[in-house]
Every structure is written in structure tokens, then in C-alpha cells.
């Protein structure tokens, strides 16, 4: 606009009743936080004055703000058009939208007797003695706006409320406020402004104490200086960490493999140790919980692999074979620790459960004696699992390690009721691990014919010495014993082996890889068939089968088999029965009862625990090992009259969706090397040669456990994550809670936590 001088500007149209005491020109400064509407608040103030017919100018002080950062906005008011384009350094009116912002910076430059309007939930009296130099007013705009639903519940927008309080302080009539909101299309926010108009509490300026100089005037505007050399960055003065309402925390989360392992092995732990430090370091971790690593590394059904999160990406980690690698390639021998009070334990049964219990007790420095019915330790490991799956020397390696801890073993020692009662008296505690009871027979015609044998007995014979078979063999059953029988029968010379199972392929309880290996070796599966009768002249020569349909599911959810009238006949020279075993235990003294995993006499619990198949009947080595270890822990806790540490809550494991697959390259699992099926069909040598190397350990995600990959450090946009000791440290002074570290952590080892109310800034 062209004019000779500002003072000679043409007069404005008559102003509608300016509030008394309003001196112009007027500088207003608003202090808020990014996202709170501070800039708009200043614009609303401008609109209010414009409604009064005055000239206005309003703008925000723009920089690198983000949600939560302190923000300033300015409004100027005058009778004539405003030529001043500078920021407001000497405000006449100060509006503070967040109490947390009050400070020398906020109040800097305020003219004496300036108006200070504060958004606060506190009453005016809470500020008695403070801000005496100002015309001071307080309004809880947040509460009003929240109640009237302006903004969201987490980010309440208070500017339209504040204006109501401000208008009241000016002495502007409500009609001006109403006209202003109407012109802006903010009629919906008018009730909030009206409430603030009514409820704002104000206090006149009190006489200032001469002794206390107003610090504000001294720091009015920045000094005028020649160019200063900036060779270093301007030091940060705002602790941006105070703006956040959530913070990251490094927190280990349970890995699904660890939770799935029945033995309680630290799978993540031993795999990462193998990867970083080699087999010896891995063995040291593995052997804390694993009494029989060479065994499990070969025959465990590996529930850890079924639970492995990598299965959702490019294939589960070959954990079983990594365990085998560790035990085959290391020679770690843990030593007995010194027990505070050395106890004496008796263990009935030298199978995997008993061995595991003995191992855990001996490790902790206690005296242990195993009583084994058979000629040597091992139980099903010795006489049930074929040598081509579990070679003798592998088993012996594990046994030697256990015995080296000082465990005593007495073999060829079958125990009866009196023996158990006596052992309970003479030892501090007794752990009973006698395994399954007798195998189930088949109530069918011809079951007593020569050539129809229990599978377990057959396997035992085959392990003791050479067994020769000829002709066609039929195995009845679908579990691991049945598969072992079938594959052993082939190696013993059978011309053909058929495996008869009354359900389908998917329902077979045997380990998948074992079924696959059996089929590759030539075992033929005859599914959905059940034997009705055996025929033969003294010796079995054929088996009558009935077709079985799957009926409706029973109480457990399994579909019960329905035997039909359709029959067929297969020729067989030998039948092996693998129908499972009962849990009958006839060696308990008459006055003892088994309740849970404990023996009770009347209503008194005895220091007698049960472990393994005789207690839980799970039927796998891994369960037996875990079970034996837990029984040992329970017994120790009881004797020490301390709580059983093993009784812990099961936490939620890391789910596949919590792993950042994008941080990993696709790489299929390393497979076990195996002797070709044609070659191994006739050999009892170990058919599975395991992994070629430990590289498979590199595929472990390390779910929930930090591997110090530095991803969080690299991705942090503020650069506030530092290496510290053998972990990380976050500078909480500057962490803004963006959550980028948590979002990018490849393995969910860091979580965001909401800050407490005290920690969160007052504006939210």
C-alpha cells in the first residue's frame, strides 16, 4: 500500500466498542506444543481482533518441530495496517497452552504488567506468590475441551476453548466471540469457548518486589552482533525426551523353540553359542539341561522345529541336527558342584528319565544310585531304538558323561514292592522311572500263532545280536516302535515289509522324517486297515484285514475308526505288533498310591517321585529327559524346604509376525546327509550322517533375544542408542519414543512401554 508515512494513514472505519484498557499496538505470543493447535490459537486471536475491526497479523515460528515440540506463534494487533514483520520479542499478552512450557524462555521479553493466560488444571490459588508481575489468569481448557469432545481423547485440541478465556480477560463482550466463531464456521466449538469465558480465573498484577529484578526484560531480543564463527554445532538445550509418552525397553521374550522343548533346553542359547563361539561353548549351555545330547540329536521328534518361527519364512532351523553336531564335535564334561547339603538319591530305572534325573542331581553335588533291571543302562535307548538310528557308541558317549559325574549304577537288578519301600526308607528320596508297562496285545484269532511277536521284544533281540528274517513281514501299528520294527525287519532280511495302520498317514504318531525314511527304504504303508485274524498252520502265513473308515470325532477330537465289513487278506510270514504299551505299574507297595507325579501313603505325600513314561506316558525321549529333570528339581526343593524353581508361568513366545523377515535373506535349511535308501536297506550302520557343518546355526533368528546386531542403533533417527557393556543404552534425555527401534528389531528383543503419568508431559 502506498502512503507517505504510516502516521498519516487514512483512518479506519469506526471500531466497534474496543474493550477498555486495550492499548495498541499489541503483541501477543502463544506457547504450545506441536500438534496442540498453537498456531491456530494465534490465528483465532487475530480473528477475534479482526471482528473488532482492527488490523491483525499472525504467524507461527516455523522450524523442525514435531508433535510435542515447543512451538511459538505470534499475533500483532493495531489500528493501522501492520508493517512489522519481525517475531514478537516483547509480548504484551502471553498465552501458554501447556504448563510444562513455563520457564524463562517462555516468559522472556514480556512487558511489565503483561497478561499471562495459562492452561492448567490447578486453581488460581496454587499460584499464590508466583507470577506476581503479570496479570495472571488460569483456565483448565483441556478439561473443557475433552468433555466436549474437541480433538481426540489422546490429543485434546484446546485453542477454541482458550479463546473464550482470552476474550473474557480482554473484557470483550460474548457477542464478539460469537460473531468471530460464526465467521470462522466454528459454531460447534462455541460452547467450549463460552464455558471458558465463564470459568477463567484471573488475578490483577500485584506490586512487584524491587529486590527481585524481572529477568524477562533483560532477555528481550537476541543481541545484534557481528557474524560469529560456527565451527561446532549449536548445543541442544531442549531435552526432547520429555515430550514422549512411551519408551523402548530391551526385554528378552521367550523363543517358541525354548518353550516347546520338553527337556527345557535353552535352544536359542546353544545355537547362538554355536554360531558365535563354537561347539564347546554351545555344549556347555546344552548340557546344563540335556543329559543325553547325542541321543536327542538323533531321535527326538523335535517339537522345537515344529514351533520354529523360521518355518513361516523359508523352513524351520534344523535344530535336531545342530544338537547332534554339538554333541558329536565337542568333549565338554561338566563337573559336580559342591552341594550345601549333600543328599542321597535312589533312582529306579536307568532309561532316559532316570538318567536325566541322576544327571541333574549329580551335577548339583548329590549322591545318586541307579537301579536298572536290564544288563546295562539305557532302557528303551538300548533295547528299543534301532542301531541305525542310535548307534551304540553315541549312546555310550552320553552314558559315560553321566557316570563321570559320580553316578553309581547297579544293573541286572529288578525291583519289587519291598525293594521300593526299603529304598524309600534308606535314601533321602526315591525317583521311580520304570517306563511303560507291558505292551498291548491283540485279541484276535490266531494271535498265538508262531511268528506273531511283540515288536519291542523283536527290537531287543535284534539289538542284542544278529536276527535273520525271511519272507514277508507285516508290522501292525503307526508309532515310532512300528516304524523301527519295519525298518529293522528290512535290514534283517525280510523280502518285503508292510506296515498296517488303522488310520491315515496324517494320523500316524511316528516322527515324520522316520515315516519318510521307511517309505524310501521300501516299507509299504497299508493304511485304514485293521487285523481281524491271523491264519496259518502252526506258523502264521496270512493276515485278514478289515477296512476302517474314519468316523465322527470323539471326546478328544480324534476321529474314531469305524471297522467295516469289507475285508482283504495279505500273505505274511512274520507279524510284529507295535500297538503301544500300558502304564500299569505293579511294583508299587500296596499302601502307596500315585497321585500326579508323587507317591502318597494315605493322606501323606512320600519323598517318592515318578518321572518318564510311567508318570506322563508321553512316549518320547525328550519328554522323559525333561520329566526326569523336573522330578529331580521337585525332590531337591522338597528336601531343602524351598519353593520349586521349576514351577514357573509359561510366558507367550515370540510369534512369526513379530519377526522382521525383511531383515533376513532367504536360505533353505541345511539338510542332513543320509546314506542313499538302496544302500542302507541292508545295513545297521547309522543311516543319517547329520549336517556337513554348523552353518545351519546362522539361520537361527534368535527370537526374542538380542544378538547385538546394532539394527536398533542404526535405525534410531535421533542417534540416541549407544553400545554399553555387552548391551545397549538409550539416552532417555533425547529419545522421542518414535518406536523405530522396536519396529525394526529383527527379532522382537525390544518393546515399547507406555510411560507413567509422572513421566508424560502435562499437555496430553
Amino acid at each position: 500500500m502506498e502512503r507517505q508515512s504510516h502516521a498519516e494513514a487514512s483512518a479506519q472505519a469506526p471500531i466497534i466498542a474496543l474493550p477498555a484498557g486495550l492499548t495498541l499496538p499489541l503483541d501477543v505470543r502463544v506457547h504450545g506444543r506441536g500438534g496442540q493447535g498453537g498456531v491456530t490459537c494465534a490465528k483465532l486471536i487475530a480473528a477475534l481482533y479482526m471482528q473488532m475491526g482492527l488490523h491483525v497479523q499472525t504467524f507461527g515460528d516455523y522450524g523442525s518441530e514435531r508433535s510435542g515440540a515447543p512451538v511459538q506463534a505470534y499475533t500483532r494487533v493495531d489500528r493501522i495496517p501492520i508493517a512489522n514483520r519481525n517475531k514478537v520479542y516483547r509480548p504484551d499478552h502471553l498465552i501458554v497452552l501447556d504448563e510444562g512450557l513455563l520457564g524463562t524462555q517462555t516468559l522472556g521479553g514480556a512487558a511489565p504488567g503483561a497478561l499471562l493466560l495459562l492452561n492448567s488444571s490447578a486453581s488460581l490459588h496454587r499460584y499464590d506468590g508466583q507470577y506476581a508481575d503479570y496479570q495472571f489468569a488460569v483456565i483448565d481448557a483441556t478439561a473443557i475441551a475433552r468433555e466436549l469432545g474437541i480433538g481426540s481423547s489422546s490429543v485434546v485440541i484446546i485453542n477454541t476453548t482458550m479463546l473464550g478465556a482470552y476474550a473474557r480477560l480482554l473484557g470483550a463482550p460474548l457477542s464478539v466471540l460469537e460473531g468471530c466463531y460464526a465467521s470462522l464456521g466454528l459454531g460447534g466449538d462455541l460452547p467450549a469457548a463460552q464455558q471458558a469465558y465463564q470459568r477463567v480465573q484471573m488475578r490483577a498484577r500485584t506490586v512487584s518486589h524491587p529486590a527481585v529484578p524481572a529477568p524477562a526484560a533483560a532477555a528481550a531480543s537476541p543481541p545484534v552482533a557481528p557474524i560469529s564463527a560456527h565451527n561446532a554445532d549449536i548445543p541442544a538445550s531442549l531435552k526432547t525426551g520429555s515430550w514422549s509418552n512411551q519408551a523402548p525397553l530391551y526385554q528378552e521374550v521367550a523363543a517358541p523353540c525354548n518353550l516347546a522343548c520338553p527337556a527345557g533346553n535353552d535352544v536359542v542359547g546353544f545355537i547362538q553359542a554355536l554360531k558365535n563361539d563354537g561347539a564347546e561353548a554351545a555344549a556347555a549351555i546344552l548340557q546344563r539341561t540335556q543329559a543325553l545330547p547325542s541321543v536327542c540329536g538323533r531321535v527326538c521328534p523335535a517339537p522345537c522345529m515344529r514351533a520354529c518361527n523360521r518355518d513361516a519364512f523359508d523352513g524351520a532351523v534344523n535344530i535336531r541336527s545342530l544338537e547332534r553336531w554339538i554333541s558329536d564335535c565337542s568333549a565338554v564334561q561338566l563337573t559336580q558342584r559342591q552341594a550345601a547339603a549333600r543328599r542321597r538319591f535312589a533312582i529306579a530305572g536307568g532309561g532316559p528319565a532316570g538318567l536325566s534325573a541322576a544327571y541333574q542331581l549329580a551335577l548339583r553335588g548329590h549322591e545318586v544310585k541307579i537301579f536298572e533291571a536290564g544288563p546295562a543302562l539305557g532302557g528303551v535307548l538300548r533295547n528299543g531304538i534301532p542301531a541305525f538310528r542310535l548307534p551304540q557308541d553315541a549312546l555310550q558317549r552320553d552314558l559315560d558323561r553321566i557316570l563321570a559325574l559320580g553316578v553309581e549304577a547297579q544293573c541286572d537288578c529288578r525291583l519289587y514292592k519291598d525293594d521300593l519301600a526299603r529304598l524309600q526308607q534308606t535314601y533321602d528320596a526315591l525317583i521311580v522311572c520304570v517306563g511303560f508297562g507291558p505292551a498291548f496285545g491283540l485279541a484276535a484269532e490266531g494271535a498265538a500263532l508262531e511268528g506273531v511277536e511283540q515288536g519291542l521284544a523283536f527290537l531287543d533281540r535284534a539289538k542284542r545280536g544278529r536276527v535273520t528274517l525271511a519272507g514277508h513281514v507285516a508290522v501292525v501299528g503307526g508309532g515310532n516302535t512300528a516304524i523301527d520294527c519295519a525298518r529293522t525287519a528290512l535290514r534283517c532280511g525280510a523280502a518285503s515289509v508292510k506296515l498296517v495302520y488303522r488310520r491315515g498317514h496324517e494320523e500316524m504318531p511316528a516322527i515324520r522324517e522316520e515315516i519318510e525314511a521307511a517309505e524310501l527304504e521300501g516299507v509299504r504303508l497299508v493304511l485304514h486297515r485293521q487285523p481281524l485274524a491271523f491264519t496259518g498252520d502252526g506258523t502264521v502265513s496270512a493276515m485278514l484285514l478289515a477296512e476302517v473308515e474314519t468316523g465322527p470325532p470323539d471326546a478328544s477330537g480324534r476321529r474314531s475308526p469305524l471297522v467295516t465289513q469289507r475285508t482283504s487278506r495279505i500273505a505274511c510270514d512274520k507279524v510284529l505288533l507295535a500297538l503301544g504299551q500300558s502304564k500299569a505299574m505293579d511294583l508299587l507297595p500296596d499302601t502307596w498310591r500315585m497321585r500326579g507325579a508323587r507317591a502318597w501313603q494315605g493322606n501323606r505325600p512320600l519323598p517318592v517321585w515318578f518321572a518318564g513314561d510311567c508318570a506322563s506316558g508321553e512316549g518320547t525321549v525328550a519328554h522323559a529327559i525333561g520329566n526326569g529333570g523336573r522330578a529331580a528339581a521337585a525332590a531337591l526343593a522338597h528336601l531343602a524346604q524351598a519353593p520349586d524353581e521349576a514351577e514357573r508361568e509359561t510366558p507367550d513366545p515370540v510369534a512369526p509376525a513379530q519377526i522382521r523377515f525383511s531383515h533376513f535373506e532367504m536360505a533353505p535349511p541345511h539338510r542332513d546327509r543320509q546314506i542313499p535308501p538302496s544302500a542302507r536297506r541292508h545295513s545297521f550302520d547309522e543311516f543319517n550322517l547329520g549336517l556337513a557343518g554348523p552353518d545351519e546355526a546362522g539361520r537361527c533368528f534368535s527370537c526374542g533375544r538380542c544378538t547385538h546386531c546394532d539394527t536398533c542403533l542404526i535405525y534410531c533417527p535421533e542417534g540416541v542408542i549407544y553400545r554399553s557393556g555387552d548391551g545397549y543404552r538409550i539416552d532417555t534425555d533425547y529419545c522421542k519414543g518414535c518406536g523405530m527401534c522396536v519396529a525394526e528389531c529383527p527379532r522382537s528383543a525390544i518393546q515399547m512401554h507406555a510411560k507413567t503419568r509422572q513421566e508424560v508431559s502435562a499437555c496430553l
Binding site: 500500500m1 502506498e2 507517505q4 508515512s5 504510516h6 502516521a7 490465528k43 487475530a46 480473528a47 479482526m50 488490523h55 491483525v56 497479523q57 499472525t58 504467524f59 507461527g60 516455523y62 522450524g63 523442525s64 495496517p81 501492520i82 508493517a83 512489522n84 514483520r85 519481525n86 517475531k87 520479542y89 531480543s221 537476541p222 545484534v224 552482533a225 557481528p226 557474524i227 560469529s228
Partner: protein
Amino acid sequence: MSVELISANHAAALAATLAARANRKGRGFCSGVYPITPSTECMEYLCLQEIEKGRVLRVESEHSAMAVCIGASAAGARAFTATSSNGLAYMAENCVAAAGMRLPIVLAVANRTLGPPWNIWADHGDSLMLRDHGLIQFYCADNQELFDTVLCAFRLAEDSRVMMPAMVCMEGFILSHAVTQTEVPEQEQVDRFLPLTSIPHQLGETPHTLGQMEVPQQTASHHQQHHAAMLGVPQIYAEIQNSFERIFGRRMADAVHAYRAEDAETLIVSMGTIGATAERVVDLFRARGQRVGSLRVRLFRPLPSATIANWFAGKKRVAVIDRDISLGFGGVLWGEIRGLAGPITVVQNYMAGIGGGDVRPEHLENMLSDLHPRRAAGLPAMIEAL
């Protein structure tokens, strides 16, 4: 006419919208846009407007944005876009192309420091980077002026005696984001102010090529024509000032806006909002009895040399304030006008507000204190503003 409480960014977009609608009986309006701080709000606002026979295309870069404008203008549509700093740098090639093809595209620039290092605040270095290539350049000091100048720019650029792109500059954030009362005319008034766009060489019935290869003597001749057309701008601008005042009832500032300069001994010369600050300082010094005046260079290209030389005549000292620096030389405005002063006049360069600092009256007072005792000009000096 209405009074709106809007930012300069919105004012520029609103002016462009009114101008766009004014061409609805012609070949309409087309704009290619791309966002960059601090001009983003201008294109955002434009995208929201309903323009009869108009299209606003959001494209993938500033270079493409100007390409769209070139295509549209070459077809006879009214064209407009907005950008800043590095966006203008990216657009630069096509700005030169638009000028070389003598297309009357209006470009609103929210001045911002070129980077890296990154800096979002006001500095004239971006628009001045393109001062030599045949675009008209205006520098505005307040929102109303910005609005009026954008409207005027269409009229000026599309004048058949001019026919070249026009750049209208506002300082980023200081103007672009500052909200003040702005008078907005009726569409009917704008319809009267802006004739329909008519470009002599626009593509139409007869196929022809724009911006074809040429040999040296042709280039020289075309540049001579362009230069001559530019030199005719001040006269035509004066005509438009009259027309503007008749239709809208206000007068736009002169190409060089003088304030209390006639009997001044000391002159402060600047561009943009520093000019408004300078006028406040002039009043301060006048109140103390010192004869200080100011010149605000509103039209930078073509440079109103004669006008400035007239004002310099007889002055003892001139402080030229540049919110820019030509590295290795000094302030651009100073460099261009220092030679317009006589031998007795001390012309001293002060570069202030580089990178967007808030230049306050105190800074100018300091400059004048420095200038007053000088018998001869010193090296260009840089003043720190925070």
C-alpha cells in the same frame, strides 16, 4: 470485494484462481504443481479450488510442473505454478525454456535458502539464481502486495509487448505463512482486469515448432528482442497500475517504492520485507532529526536503473541491504545498483538475514551507525541475524 484472513501462500493461489476463471471464455487454465516447503500451501490451496475450464496436475517433480505449464501455455491456456529454493533449482531448466519460448507463465516463489546444508527459512538466493534468463521478477513486502502482484503479473506477462514468464517472490514463512487481512476482489472485477490469454505463437491450427535449434546470429537477435521487451516493462507496468487502481480501487506500489526519500541524505535500499522494516527505521531516525529515507526495489527484473539512479543523485550515503550473497562477490542487489550512484555517494553493502534470520530495526540501526562515519565504501559486510 471481501476481506479474508489468509496467508500469502493462499493469497497467491487465490489470485491465480481468479485469474484462471477469468480465462474461462478463452483456452482456460492449467497448472502443474509440486510441493516444497514453504510454498506447499499455495499449491495445496490451488488444488482445492473449482476452476471452470481449468486443470491442476500434481506431477512428480518441479521440473515436470513447469513442463506442464509450458505445454499448457504453448497451447494458449493461462498457466501458473509455485515453488521454492531447491524446487526452483530443479525447475530451473524449464524456467529458462519458458522464457526462451516467450511464454507468459506466472511463477510464485516463496523464497527459501538453497541447500544443503538444509535450511527452510527465507533467503533471496533462489530466485536471484535465475535473474539473467528473461523472467520478470517482483519482490513483495506484504500479503496484499503479493496478492495484487500475482494478479498483475498475468496482465503484464501476457501483454503482447512483453510476452515472457513473470516470477512473483515472497519471503518464505515471513510472508508465505503469515496470515493478515487481505482484500479479495470479485471475479467480475478480475474479468475486467485480465483480457483473455492470447499468445501470438501459440500452437493451434498450423503445426509449428517452439524452441527449435538456431544459429548464433539468430540467438543474438532473439535475445536482443527479449531484452528490448524487458526494457519496455516499466512503462507497461505504469499503465497497469492505472488500470488496477481504476478497477480495484487501490494502487499497487511503484516499481521502486520510495519512502521519505526526496530530502534524505542517507538511503536504505532493500527488497522484500526488509523494506518494510527499513521504513520503520526511517521513521525512527526522522524522529531523531536525521534525514534518512528508503527505497524498496519491488521490480528487480528488469532493473529500473534510471529510476534508482535518479533517487541516488545527490545522496551522501546508501546502505544496500541484501538478503542474499553472490559467493565470491557480495550482495547481488548491491552489485547491480552500486554503479548507479555518483562519485560522492558512499554505497555500502550489508548482507543481512542470510539463511532466514529475523532482521530487526536494531540491525538496521547498527548498519546506519556503521555507515554514517564512512568516507568511502568498505568491503561487503555480513550481519548476523538469528
